[in-house]
C-alpha cells in the first residue's frame, strides 16, 4: 500500500517569525493526508505553528557533481564575503 503513495517533503515553522524549515519526508495519498500525517509524525509535541507540504517530485535538486562550479566561489575576492561587519547581539537567526 505505502509504496503506491507518493512521497512528500515536510516544512515546519517552529514559531512565528522564523522561516519554515525542512523536517523530513513521509508518504501520503494527497496533500490533505500529507498535512494530517505531518501533524502526527512531526508536530505533536508543540514543535510547530505552521506546516507546508510539497510533493517531492516538484523539487528540483542540484547535481552533486556540479558542486564545484555552483558552491565554491573564488576565495581571493574578499569583497564578496561580508565578514567585515560586527553583528549586534540582539540580531538573532542570521
Amino acid at each position: 500500500m505505502s509504496k503506491n503513495w507518493p512521497l512528500w517533503e515536510i516544512f515546519v515553522r517552529s514559531k512565528n517569525g522564523l522561516e519554515h524549515r525542512h523536517f523530513g519526508s513521509l508518504h501520503a495519498a494527497d496533500a490533505e493526508m500529507a498535512l494530517a500525517n505531518a501533524r502526527d509524525v512531526y508536530t505533536r509535541r508543540s514543535e510547530g505553528v505552521s506546516i507546508w507540504v510539497v510533493e517531492s517530485k516538484h523539487i528540483t535538486a542540484s547535481n552533486p557533481a556540479d558542486n564545484g562550479e555552483l558552491f565554491e566561489p573564488a576565495q581571493d575576492k574578499v569583497y564578496r564575503h561580508p565578514t567585515f561587519y560586527d553583528l549586534p547581539d540582539e540580531v538573532k537567526h542570521m
Binding site: S2, L26, H27, M33, A36, D40, V41, R44
Partner: protein
C-alpha cells in the same frame, strides 16, 4: 464512598476512553503505513491520557486510598462500564476507522456538554479533551470518506464495517441511574438530548462518503450495565496481565 453516583458517572465516561485506547494500542506497530500507525497510536495516547485524569479524580472521590492503576487494571469484567462499540475488535483498518468515527462524533458532543459541567474538575478535563477529540474526529471521518469513496473493494469493506458497527450506536445514548442523577445535579451531560444531532451528522458524512446509511432498527446494548461482548475478556486479559501477574509492579 462519598458520592457513588459521581464515581459511577466518571467511570462510565472514562472506561470508554480506556478500552478504545487499549484497542488502538494493540495496533501499535501494525498500522498499514508508518504514518497511519503513528496517528492511531497518538489517538490511543490521547485517550489514555484522558482516562488517567478521570481515574485519578474517581480514586479521590472513592476515598479508599486506591490509585488510578487499581481502577484501570484490577476490576472484573462486569465492573467496566464502557459501551460495546469501543470493545469491538480491530477487524481491519476500515473497521477501526469506522469504529473510531462513530465514537468520535459522540465523544465530541459529550465533551462539549461536559465542559459546562457544574463539577469543575470534570469541566476542566473536558475542556482539555475537546481539542484532542476534534482532531480524532477529523482524522477518522476523513478516512471513512476516503475508503467509502475509494475503490469498489474499499467501499464494500467500509460499508460492511458501518453496517456491523451501526448496531452498537444506540447504546451511546442510554442513561444509567447514575447518569440521570448527575444530569439532575447539573454535573452530567444528557446524551439522549444530542442523539438526533449525532445521527444527522453521521448520516451527512456517510452520504458524502458514498455509503448507505443502515436502516436496521435492531441495536445491541449491554456494556453500560457491565454486560460485555465475547471480545472483552480477551482485551482485559491483555490489559490486566502485568498487574495480575506481578501485583503492585511499577515502571
Amino acid at each position: 464512598m462519598n458520592n457513588k453516583d459521581l464515581y459511577n458517572y466518571i467511570l462510565g465516561i472514562a472506561d470508554n476512553s480506556l478500552i478504545l485506547g487499549q484497542r488502538l494500542g494493540e495496533l501499535c506497530g501494525h498500522g498499514p503505513t508508518l504514518e497511519t500507525d503513528i496517528a492511531g497510536t497518538n489517538i490511543s495516547l490521547d485517550l489514555i491520557g484522558q482516562t488517567r485524569s478521570y481515574y485519578q479524580y474517581a480514586a479521590k472521590i472513592q476515598g479508599e486510598g486506591k490509585s488510578e492503576d487499581d481502577i484501570a487494571f484490577l476490576r472484573l469484567e462486569r465492573d467496566y462500564k464502557n459501551v460495546l462499540l469501543v470493545e469491538q475488535p480491530n477487524t481491519h483498518f476500515g473497521y477501526v476507522m469506522g469504529r473510531q468515527y462513530l465514537f468520535d462524533v459522540y465523544h465530541l458532543l459529550l465533551m462539549q456538554g461536559l465542559a459546562n459541567s457544574a463539577d469543575e474538575t470534570l469541566a476542566a478535563i473536558a475542556k482539555k479533551g475537546i481539542k484532542e477529540v476534534s482532531y480524532h474526529k477529523r482524522f477518522s471521518g476523513d478516512w471513512v470518506k476516503r475508503l467509502g469513496d475509494g475503490t469498489e473493494e474499499s467501499n464494500e469493506k467500509m460499508q460492511e464495517a458501518i453496517d456491523d458497527l451501526w448496531t452498537y450506536t444506540d447504546e451511546l445514548f442510554d442513561l444509567t441511574e447514575s447518569d440521570e442523577k448527575m444530569i439532575s445535579e447539573g454535573i452530567g451531560v444528557d446524551a439522549s438530548a444530542f442523539k438526533n444531532q449525532y445521527y444527522d451528522e453521521v448520516t451527512a458524512l456517510l452520504k458524502e462518503a458514498n455509503l448507505q446509511v443502515p436502516e436496521g432498527k435492531y441495536f445491541i446494548r449491554g456494556g453500560k450495565k457491565g454486560v460485555h461482548s465475547e471480545h472483552m475478556g480477551y482485551l482485559l486479559a491483555d490489559l490486566q496481565y502485568m498487574q495480575r501477574t506481578y501485583p503492585n509492579m511499577e515502571w
